[in-house]
Symmetry: C2
Subunit: 114 residues, 2 copies
Amino acid sequence: MSGKIPDVNMTTLSALSEPNRMNIVELLREGPLTVGEIADQLGLRQPQTSKHLKVLSDNGIVEVQAEANRRIYKLRPDPFQALDSWIQSFRSVMQERFDNLDDYLKELQNKEKS
Amino acid sequence: MSGKIPDVNMTTLSALSEPNRMNIVELLREGPLTVGEIADQLGLRQPQTSKHLKVLSDNGIVEVQAEANRRIYKLRPDPFQALDSWIQSFRSVMQERFDNLDDYLKELQNKEKS
DNA sequence: GAGGAATATTCCCGTCAAGGAATATTATAA
DNA sequence: TTATAATATTCCTTGACGGGAATATTCCTC
């Protein structure tokens, strides 16, 4: 049954789990930015900034737009929508109907013994 | 200003970004389980299962309950709630009012040149 | 208390990802 | 075309993490 549970791109999670990349994402939510601007605001060196942006880009978290010499990076909505629908599928867990369930299981196991 | 943006525990993300741990979480959403049951159902060895569960536990994603010889693991709602409210703060991004914003920025930069 | 089941912990090893430094690439302007 | 700014890429090294195997721990039963 089911099968309707959203497939979280694990790659999205691992991409976001790197602190610098998370910071980049948090920064980009305010609007598109240049590589240099991102590096400046976060105190990162340019090469590592580019590398992190590449990872984010490869994972579809970010998209680029060439503007002459510069590259403007901005967030893409898709992975966030996916993450959202995945986390939504945890409604029941988040509403903690689980404690009862647990007690229920405990009883079951006690009965097993007899 | 602001500061109302939820603090996603990055540790939550990195904990979940490991495939086996994600599988454990997906499995546990159906209800509490024993270490052995988890190992069985996922085809993992007991020691690695314990290790992964320890990581999940250290990050508050999971909680334990001793039951005689066995330890019953189950999901904790907190980190999922946190993740949820964090992702919710990306509403504007997910609704992509960003493309326009981007065009706007592009114009700005073109004007800079003149 | 001895044996055995369930789980946790330790040690070792291989892999992989991130940072640093240097260099390559692309585009602009003169 | 040369100089320069902005960005990407490469190479190297190091540290963290996951798996395997062995062992320790805890608890139950007899």
